[in-house]
Symmetry: C2
Subunit: 253 residues, 2 copies
């Protein structure tokens, strides 16, 4: 009886804002867990209740709680291990760096980029940045980085993030190698996915001055928008790669 009441309540609740289409219970449970993570109530590495307990808390069966957790695992939001339990996904600095870093060597193996130069600047946002972040974002941090791989300077990255989301970033210097793990640990902002656009460009004078490349050489320019669990654009990144020895690798399905 209790469960039926919950279900009816959810129906009314969701219908009021979503054209009479109630969300399935398992999705509600999943959204609820995501909300807890976003709010900081559940932090990365923290163990979640068991399927049985979670179901009891939410007033659903163990099977429904299980389906919610399975979906969160598929999305990489939690990690589950038989006999151990379910924890909020922890993207370690090492593994995280490679999660969205697509450069691979000729054999397809991961490469280890070394941070060479970093500058952090606080400035007013550009119109394009406001278009992406929202019009209310007037100030941003710009993090410019230069990386070398196998001793050659071939990666230039420029990350832009809103000041409102990353308060007092300048006091955090030096920033760690892997920014996304840092965003999560220091600010509770978890990157869910990244949309990238790749174009071919010619190395300009600034590229030639900073990297092991000559003006006019072909390079790949990647423009990325990183989206967090709340579906906000939280970072815009523009990277320029010299792909003489490396390639951008991706699998399409």
């Amino acid at each position: 009886m209790d469960k039926i009441l919950v279900q009816d309540f959810l129906y009314v609740y969701v219908a009021s804002m979503n054209e009479m289409t109630p969300l399935p219970l398992w999705q509600r449970v999943g959204e609820d867990i995501i909300a807890r993570i976003v709010s900081g109530d559940l932090k990365p590495g923290v163990m979640l209740p068991s399927e049985t307990d979670l179901g009891a808390e939410m007033g659903v069966s163990q099977g429904t709680a299980r389906r919610a957790l399975a979906e969160l695992e598929r999305r990489g939001i939690v990690e589950r291990r038989q006999g151990r339990g379910t924890v909020v996904a922890t993207t370690t600095p090492d593994s995280d760096h490679f999660h969205f870093f697509r450069l691979r060597d000729a054999k397809g193996s991961e490469v280890t980029p070394v941070l060479e130069v970093e500058t952090v600047e606080k400035r007013r946002s550009t119109a394009a940045e406001r278009e992406a972040f929202g019009e209310d974002v007037r100030q941003v941090y710009a993090i410019d980085r230069l990386r070398s791989i196998n001793g050659k300077r071939i990666v230039r990255e420029s990350s832009v993030i809103p000041v409102t989301l990353f308060a007092a970033l300048e006091t955090r210097a030096p920033l760690p190698n892997a920014l996304y793990a840092f965003y999560q640990q220091a600010y509770g902002i978890a990157i869910q996915r990244a949309d990238e656009r790749l174009r071919a460009v010619s190395a300009d004078a600034a590229d030639a001055a900073a990297m092991d490349v000559e003006t006019g050489d072909p390079m790949i320019e990647v423009t990325r928008r990183a989206i967090d669990l709340s579906e906000r654009v939280v970072e815009i990144r523009c990277s320029r790669y010299v792909t003489d020895d490396l390639a951008y690798a991706v699998t399409l399905r």
Copy 2:
């Protein structure tokens, strides 16, 4: 009792070739369906048995058959619709072309490439092609295509496929715009995924002669290996794009 026998049988069967680790029943059911598709027993667009019937055929419960079908749907191998049924995924010529075609315009919308020139050649395989296809592949078809987008010739593709898999391809001319749908319909070869490597290159004399680009202009070169449901490399494709007006778009998760 019957079901227990089936389960024990599967255990022994799989254990003999897989280090005592039996595959879950739902995976066995899924693999069985894939095998039927690969063998041509089930063709694209054909309706599968209902969950209940499939479970009965395989000696598993409806829930287990359901899980197998859900996984196949997630992998894009079948399409399911409430009230209608489950059919083997049909990649229509139109939709298929965009499945692995990542070029998007400035707004991120799909673009419609127009086939301008096509040549098909039968020749001996190169060492690199044998490395990808297997050493026994001595002959290949090379399909060279030139495409225009919005009236500008900016895409050059070269697809290489083994003669053994695509018998008498030369009699099929002219080939349709979307090769992967054609592979599936004419040869029963379904592309499951594609691994791509992107590099920046400078347009060479051949690019300048064939496309609306000048020698030395930066271009993106994409080297693709297409893998079918049997996990074979069935096509190697090298594409060169001019990205003045378009970008290669991808979402990382």
